[in-house]
């Protein structure tokens, strides 16, 4: 009955422009009031009434899910903030080197957090000048891009056209599904980063056909990549759940995000899934378009993705 408060997570390396974006959100006239959770190593100068200092605490859950870690500090702070009614949304600034997975998983694992708040989007701010160095030197840079729903490519005025193309190619090689917003000094329309509802199953329906599918040369072999699978033959729901469940159990550590729209045999509705590592949401979400193609799509972003094995496993789920 109580409305869920939207939460936007801002990730990005130190100096990329997270604080600039945060201050723009806090100072522009949009009539909404935000509570801000900042990290202990954050750049100073956040001007807001409701600022909470978070001290990143990563907790393992005793639920047999080996990669299932959550941010204990966020559970505590979010549950404290839910006692107030004087704000409309929450912004979480992570540390520069943060792995976004425990943050995202907190919204799946803690029931109270899941009931009262909803993860609106993970927005990753990257610096067009320094991203190539960050990607080569720290695995966290690729993780932050892999988890992003929106990538704010900042400081584009400081690189030439070739440099910009290179940076965008590298981003798309890791995560072709996130929107890229080019900016100087985080100057983007705020409705492109707020109110996206990117973790809702409805948004999965907007997955674009994978325009980068196929062979094209990457200058760099990225550690994290994506794979997309399609088919027009209906899938057997039991076979699929068996295969997908086992896949997440066995490879969930390597699969960072997964999304899918599935055409299950015997149903006129689209089955939609969205997951972070081993945690997954799934639901039937309305009928297929009347005269459209009933094409199943399944996308993975992760490490060590074995495209042949994934394809074979997926195709074995086709209904007889």
């Amino acid at each position: 009955m109580t409305a869920q408060i939207p939460v936007t997570v801002l990730t990005g390396f130190l100096g990329a422009g997270k604080t600039t974006l945060l201050n723009r959100i806090l100072t522009e006239q949009h009539g909404r009031k935000y509570a801000v959770i900042v990290n202990e190593f954050g750049e100073t100068g956040i001007d807001n009434e409701l600022v909470v200092d978070a001290d990143e605490e990563i907790f393992e859950m005793n639920n047999g899910c080996i990669c299932c870690t959550v941010r204990g500090d966020l559970i505590r702070i979010l549950s404290g903030l839910m006692k107030r009614r004087d704000f409309d949304g929450i912004l979480i600034e992570t540390t520069g080197m943060a792995d976004p997975a425990p943050v995202a998983q907190t919204f799946y694992v803690d029931q109270e957090v899941a009931d009262r708040t909803r993860l609106d989007a993970i927005v990753t701010v990257v610096d067009a000048v320094n991203l190539p160095t960050h990607l080569d030197e720290a695995h966290e840079a690729a993780e932050q891009i892999a988890f992003a729903d929106v990538i704010l490519l900042n400081k584009v005025d400081l690189v030439d056209a070739a440099g910009l193309t290179n940076v965008e190619d590298r981003i798309r090689a890791i995560n072709p599904y996130a929107g890229i917003l080019r900016s100087e000094k985080c100057g983007v329309a705020l409705d492109k980063v707020l109110g996206l509802d990117a973790f809702s199953l409805e948004r999965v329906l907007e997955i674009e056909p994978d325009f980068l599918d196929g062979d094209h040369d990457h200058e760099h072999d990225e550690d994290i990549t994506s794979i997309s699978l399609h088919s027009e033959t209906p899938l057997d729901p039991d076979l699929f759940n068996l295969w997908f469940g086992r896949l997440l159990r066995e490879k969930g550590q390597d699969i960072l995000r997964s999304k899918g729209i599935l055409n299950f045999a015997g149903s006129d509705e689209r089955y939609v899934i969205q997951g972070v590592h081993m945690l997954m949401d799934g639901s039937y979400l309305g009928p297929w378009p009347k005269d459209g193609l009933r094409q199943s799509k399944l996308v993975f972003i992760g490490r060590n993705l074995d495209s042949m094995a994934l394809k074979e496993g997926y195709e074995a789920c086709r209904a007889a």
Binding site: V52, F59, E60, M61, G72, Q111
Partner: protein, 345 residues
């Protein structure tokens, strides 16, 4: 669309009481003599008495996060404004500590006048004679509780509980380890057992004599309320579709035994629970807003005090003379006398 009024008519108890709506989220309620003192997310204390008007005290600049009652009936509160405050029964307030940009997450009182509050990973202890000590922990504190004589302080956190014992010169720590995040802590009234609620929909505990572990799992939700009641004693908990009461008599307490399940006629899961001073009864508030009363016993009958109104019950409290306080997440309050009603189903 069904009409809410006809679907959920008021119970006889509800219609005989006061029904109010506050523009705030209820945080906690405790019984102080014949008053029920309630703490709210708008930083206010609201004090309900049978024979006088509602008293409101503006206390914290943000939300009150925790509250405890001292032996002298003064109330200690911690807030997200970083303040640790004492309020006397006369309504006078004193700021005991102020930590800018920190949250005072938990507060506790001991029988001898000791007080404590937690701020992040630290617990600040103060004794009536003036001695003070800051206790450090490996992670943020989930709950604090003094034992009956106020000689030991249990501090729950990630990975277990730290027991601080008052030695001749200072408080000294020892560790009780159990993997996972411990979010509440409570001593049994005889100090033989120490129980915690965990992030993983389970209770954990230790028999203090030999540090034997107890684990109660199978809850469908996280346990947010732990209440000791009765002479046995029972530990009554939230987190399931009925009030779950674990027996703590005998050397083994609940080990290898089944709990009592009471008040199961409510809707959804139990989200708040209380007992009445000196009586073997349980009041359970549910996620649909209903409140159910039951005596404690295997064949006890349940009695619906308040029907569900859609918002989960956040707090219930009842005084010795039977004045009941209920508040739900939407800020709706029921304040009513149960006297003469709960003995006749």
């Amino acid at each position: 669309m069904m009409n809410i009024e006809t679907e959920n008519p008021l119970t006889a108890v509800e219609s005989s009481g006061q029904r109010l709506t506050m523009e705030a989220v209820p945080v906690a309620a405790l019984v102080a003599g014949e008053a029920v003192i309630t703490a709210w997310g708008d930083g206010r204390l609201r004090i309900f008495r049978a024979d006088s008007a509602l008293q409101t005290i503006d206390l914290h600049r943000g939300a009150i996060l925790s509250m405890a009652l001292a032996a002298d009936l003064s109330v200690l509160t911690g807030g997200d404004d970083g303040r640790f405050v004492r309020t006397t029964p006369e309504g006078e307030t004193e700021t005991l500590a102020e930590l800018p940009r920190k949250w005072v997450d938990h507060v506790a009182t001991g029988s001898n006048g000791n007080i404590a509050c937690s701020v992040g990973r630290e617990v600040h202890v103060r004794e009536p004679a003036g001695f003070r000590q800051v206790l450090e922990h490996p992670s943020t504190v989930g709950g604090i509780a003094f034992d009956r004589k106020s000689k030991r302080l249990a501090v729950a956190h990630y990975g277990g509980v730290t027991i601080w014992s008052r030695e001749a010169r200072r408080w000294k720590s020892s560790a009780l380890k159990w993997a996972g995040s411990h979010t509440r802590v409570s001593w049994s009234p005889d100090d033989r057992f120490l129980m915690t609620a965990m992030q993983e929909n389970a209770l954990h505990g230790w028999r203090m004599r030999d540090k034997a572990d107890l684990t109660m799992s199978g809850y469908p939700a996280k346990v947010s309320g732990l209440v000791w009641t009765g002479a046995l004693p029972w530990l009554a908990t939230t987190g399931a579709d009925s009030a779950i009461l674990w027996p703590f008599d005998g050397a083994r307490g609940p080990m290898g035994r089944e709990p009592l399940q009471l008040c199961s006629v409510g809707g959804g899961l139990v989200t708040a629970i209380c007992t009445a001073p000196g009586r073997e009864v349980i009041l359970a508030g549910f996620s649909d807003g209903s409140v159910v009363f039951s005596e404690i016993g295997a064949d006890a009958e349940s009695f619906v005090v308040r029907r569900g109104q859609g918002a989960a019950v956040s707090a219930v409290a009842v005084t010795a003379s039977g004045m009941l306080f209920v508040a739900d997440e939407a800020g709706r309050v029921l304040w009513v006398s149960l006297a003469g009603r709960t003995n006749q189903p």
